[in-house]
Amino acid sequence: MSIEVKGLTHIYSEGLPHESVALEDVNFKAEDGQLVGIIGHTGSGKSTLVQHLNGLLKPKTGSIIIGDTDITADGVIMRDIRRKIGLVFQYPEYQLFEETVAKDVAFGPNNLGLSQEETDERVKEAIELVGLDYDKVKNVSPFDLSGGQKRRVAIAGVIAMKPEILILDEPTAGLNPRAHADILNMVKNIHETERNIIFLVSHNMNDIARMSDKVIVMDCGKVAMEGPPAEVFLRENELRNMGLALPDSMEITMRLKRAGMDINSVCLTMDEAADEIAKVLKK
């Protein structure tokens, strides 16, 4: 599976006095097994982009080709597209509604018209993949779980659809540090198990630096940068001008470099930064 976005442009309220160009000539590609981080400050077009990827919005011009289907073409059956692409919105736990965890996760697969056995199997698999104990939680009300657990149940509901492309919009927002780490491990685990394409939209530069194979930086509706995190986060001034920041590890190494330390400042995790600093100090 691959996804290619070509010349995507979207205009809100076209022809009205407050019309605004939300996306302008956006191009990029992602392939199987890639985890793509999407960053950009509020209003940069991230959410508009993501809503195009699963067909919630239609572009003014341009196309999105998934596998060999152009999902922006006329006559495409959106149901088929949404089977392939799972979108987890911000604060997905607000979308839980069923009486039990198992029923909530089964809602999507049930609507695909799968057999009961197939559905049950997928539900069990998805709940385990998000790191919950199936036998313990299946008959529990989702509303009795902790915030982090609720979020995992909501994500399981999307995973149970077995999407080939999974989009996670701010999956760690508002979680305490442990739940935050758990969700990231879960994303990694899903990625390794399913080998699908994952788009991770986040304001957290530490997560983006650590998790992504490739980073897409959105600014004013355009792709401002695209590349591996080690390249993107070296462009400090450009990022700051867009209202973005560096991962904490590089926030420190860049400062040290400016203060005169002869250090390799490309450190995507705090452990790498500690290794580099130790190397310099022990010289």
């Binding site: 400050h41 902790s146 508002g174 540090p177 442990r178 209202g243 926030e251 040290l256 500690a274």
Partner: protein, 277 residues
Amino acid sequence: MQDFIRIENLVFEYVKGEDNTSVRAIDDVSFVVEKGSFTAVIGQNGSGKSTLAKNINGLLTPTSGKVVVDGLDTSDHDNIWNIRQRVAMVFQNPDNQIVSSIVEDDVAFGPENLGVDPVEIRRRVDEALVGVEMYDFRKKAPHMLSGGQKQRIAIAGAVAMEPECIVFDEPTAMLDPRGRSEVLSVIRKLNRRGITVLLITHFMDEAAQADKIIVMDKGLKKIEGAPAEVFRKADELKALSLDVPPAVDLALKLRERNIDIPEGILTIDDMVDCLCR
């Protein structure tokens, strides 16, 4: 310094709908907040942080124990309006707090409800908007603003009530890096001007800037102290599903690599000073 908020053996229980069992969200918590100070409250989801915040301005009142704000007991119903004039709250999601379709009207909502004189309202609104650096946006519609800007409007709304204390319940959780630093710098500025600040947060680098940190877990107060003291207890914090600020994390990792880093490093500035001296 003078105590502004005194919390004495606070217990708060709520009753679960279906089976009528009561759940203890806050369990015998005591501490004081000094006038003009900056206190941060950290703790994992469900630790009782927000319940604690709502007990401070009388949105919730104690099951037992006492919360006294500026000498006023929150359990005494006659005190509620006086307390809410002294303690304003700002919540996580700015969209849930903005009531008007024009920025300056929104900021005026609080003082209008307090029955403040119109001329005085004008002065307060202007001052509050200048304070949060949003004066140029006073005629705009809030929904056209970014998250950080909306949150600053919500803060201006609280400031226009001229409270002595503002309780912030995870005000930066939904913001991008720029919005987060804008909001935090506004909070620090208000504190420097004498407003007592209580900040509930999941961001350890924000908590590191406070005078005092209260660590909550399962309704209990686990640790209380200055940031340097609290963040020295990295293992204890990790056991409570919490973390340490980035500079403290790096200090620990460097010590593991046999590099001598002095205690008390809390911020990136401290770390750079220490390593490049």
